[in-house]
């Protein structure tokens, strides 16, 4: 028994972290965000060249065949560097859906292209968790009608994985007849989301799909979002500490005031146990399936709360500078803000955690 990352896992995370530190420098992120890009093709290509777009894709389909824990370590790095790339939908949720529910032909056709980074996949499952604005997709045979909101990695997607209201998954290519994509603008310009409208769209059913598989896809997505917040929060703490050690007021660095030091200590004390929770949630989905859904809920909800605390506290430690566009701290603040609501906000997710334990109807 060992509760620690392996040497290989640490190396993989370091490699990807180093790549993103360089490729996704703040200037690059800012340009991509200000241009309202769907994602940065350049960073995504480099990321895919490291093989990690295929982190979950089985080896026989050209991927690395690794687990949810390793994927979470990648997601932590994309959050850390607020990377404008379609990781959660394209590299995690879509490949998982295809690998678990797709036909052999669907797998052979799409998994290698997802693994290589050539194809980007949007994932539409929000309404399975909770529908806003009367959204929802119904299927009649393999024809889809309705709408889906907050489609992860939707802008720039070549294919979509869509869950209907009765527990089936479908694959649709972006140019399909009757499909309209409307991009939504959130506070977080590093990871835009879409709305999809379906007017009798002919779709390909993933033949082995089931509510259980949809749940597993959502669990994985929630774990990735939690890890994204972990990475973004960690970076916000580091930036706050660095700033507090440099900024002087009253002839002292502000980091020598206990009022400021204690804010930094509180952030670190809250976030550090979250790392262990995210590791466990990832590991549980790979090795302890009975606990997978509950731990994904705990990780998602808890990181949402701690993420919000860290995001506002780090901004306060930066004082007025934290509030400016120039310093760019807001990219992390907004990333954490979007993470909190995607795939269920904390109240919604905790209600699900209660249901999973038989505490609520």
């Amino acid at each position: 028994m060992e509760f620690a990352l392996s040497e290989e896992q640490r190396m993989l995370q370091d490699t990807v972290g180093r790549f993103l530190a360089e490729a996704a420098e703040l200037d690059v992120v800012r340009k991509s965000a200000e241009a309202h890009e769907a994602f940065s093709r350049k960073i995504w290509t480099g990321f895919a060249e490291l093989g990690v777009a295929g982190i979950l894709v089985p080896e026989e389909h050209g991927g690395l065949g690794l687990g949810i824990l390793e994927a979470a370590l990648m997601s932590e790095m994309t959050g850390r560097h607020v990377a404008p790339i379609p990781f959660i939908g394209t590299a995690v949720m879509a490949p998982l859906a295809l690998a678990k529910a797709g036909s052999e032909a669907q797998k052979a056709s799409w998994l290698p292209r997802l693994a290589s980074g050539e194809v980007v996949a949007g994932v539409a499952v929000t309404e399975v968790i909770g529908a806003r604005e009367g959204a929802g997709v119904t299927s009649k045979g393999d024809v889809l009608t309705g709408s889906a909101l907050f489609v992860i990695d939707g802008p720039g997607a070549d294919i979509f994985i869509v869950a209907d209201t009765s527990g089936s998954l479908f694959l649709i290519e972006a140019g399909a007849q009757g499909l309209e994509r409307i991009d939504l603008t959130t506070i977080d310009l590093t990871r835009p989301v879409s709305e999809l409208r379906f007017e009798g769209v002919a779709a390909e059913r993933l033949p082995d799909s089931s509510p259980e598989i949809i749940q597993q896809v959502i669990d994985a997505g929630r774990t990735m979002i939690a890890a994204d917040t972990l990475g973004a929060g960690q970076m916000m703490i580091e930036k706050a500490v660095e700033y507090a050690k440099e900024r002087k007021q009253f002839n002292r660095v502000i980091g020598s005031f206990q009022a400021v030091k204690h804010l930094c200590a509180e952030m670190a004390a809250e976030l550090e146990p979250c790392r262990s929770l995210v590791w466990y949630a990832g590991y549980a989905q790979d090795a302890l399936p009975d606990e997978g859904s509950l731990m994904a809920c705990h990780a998602k909800a808890h990181l949402s709360e701690i993420g919000r605390f860290v995001a506002r506290t780090s901004t306060e430690v930066h004082g007025g500078m934290g509030f400016t566009d120039l310093v760019g701290l807001h990219y992390w603040f907004k990333r954490i803000g979007l993470d909190r609501q995607l795939l269920g906000g904390p109240e919604r997710v905790r209600e699900e955690a209660a249901r999973l334990q038989g505490w609520a109807a």
Partner: protein
Amino acid sequence: MDLAYGAEYETFRQAVKHFTDENRDNVPRPSGTGRPSDDQRKWQELLIKNGYAARTIPTEYGGYGAEPDILKSRIIAEEFTKASLPLGLASQGISMLVPTLLELGTEEQKKQWIEPTLKGEVVWCQGYSEPGSGSDLASLQTKATEDGDDFIINGQKIWTSTAQSSDMIFCLVRTEPDAPKHEGISYLIFSMDTPGIEVRPLMTMTGYAEFNEVFFTDVRVPKSQIVAERGQGWFVANATLKHERGMLGDPNQAGTRLAAIIDLMHEETLSGERLIDNPLFRDRLVQLQARVAAMQFHGMRLLTASAKKEDPGIARLVVKLMGCELNHQLAALAIDALGELGVLYERSPHLRAGGRWQRSYMFDLGLIIGGGTAQIQKNIISERGLGMPREPKPARKEGAA
């Protein structure tokens, strides 16, 4: 990451289970005092013999002498909890003095004290805090002056748990009054029966006297009863405090408490509705459940690091702060779920769990303050964990003494 129990561990678990089955009816009766009863000492001896207590303490000092193995420790705790059997004694002597002697004691001290301490034959109390020296512990004033082969101790300690039932004390005293404050302290161990020691119980807000004040008047202690060198007491104490902070933040306690709250919320009702069916209370429960899980996994991560002799850095520094706060919040939820019933106390009609939740809620606040206050913990986390600067020393005023 590998949390799977391999074959070796399954065999081990079977052995522990066999033991707990065999001994189901041997639950030792507690003494009701600060000292272990004969029953508890017999139980402790049985546990040590089987490797379920003092597991990693070397055999020459009365332990079981096993290699540290976090999974086996975890299996022991799990199986004993499942069987509702008490684990080994967890006194200040066992959790603080024994590790300190193992690290810094002389061979003679180890031989003399570790075994009887482990067996519960010798009970210890800790003499650190003083009325004028709490967070600034190193300013302590209890002094030990030389007189031939002895030290003569005068002064006062406070927050000394189990002082009235202890045989021995491990105590910080100032032996070098002219040295800088951190370098003038020594760590002495001596009998509580030594003439000149007076113990007065200290009643706290809980209504119980969980602590004492201890007064020393010309207490004579042989110089040989020092741990490490003269003037090194501060560093010895820090080695000990590390053990105490780990103990105060024990995540298993939070797990046990959470389980009790889950039961409580299934049993207690408000206007006929079970508390577990109330969405607001349920939401608070799930929030705390995630925190308990995070701290438990965090504990597993720290145990792994310590088994591999790695320094977990900041991850270790946050345990006391977060663990004590979590326990306090758990007690608060239990009280709120009970509502008006939650404020009943002493021997009131309708009292729940013997008033345990209120007592915990108050006592935990003491634990948040004791063993290094939350604010001191935050200094430690920011300075040692995040590398932030210390508070500058106030400039001395011109002409001030």
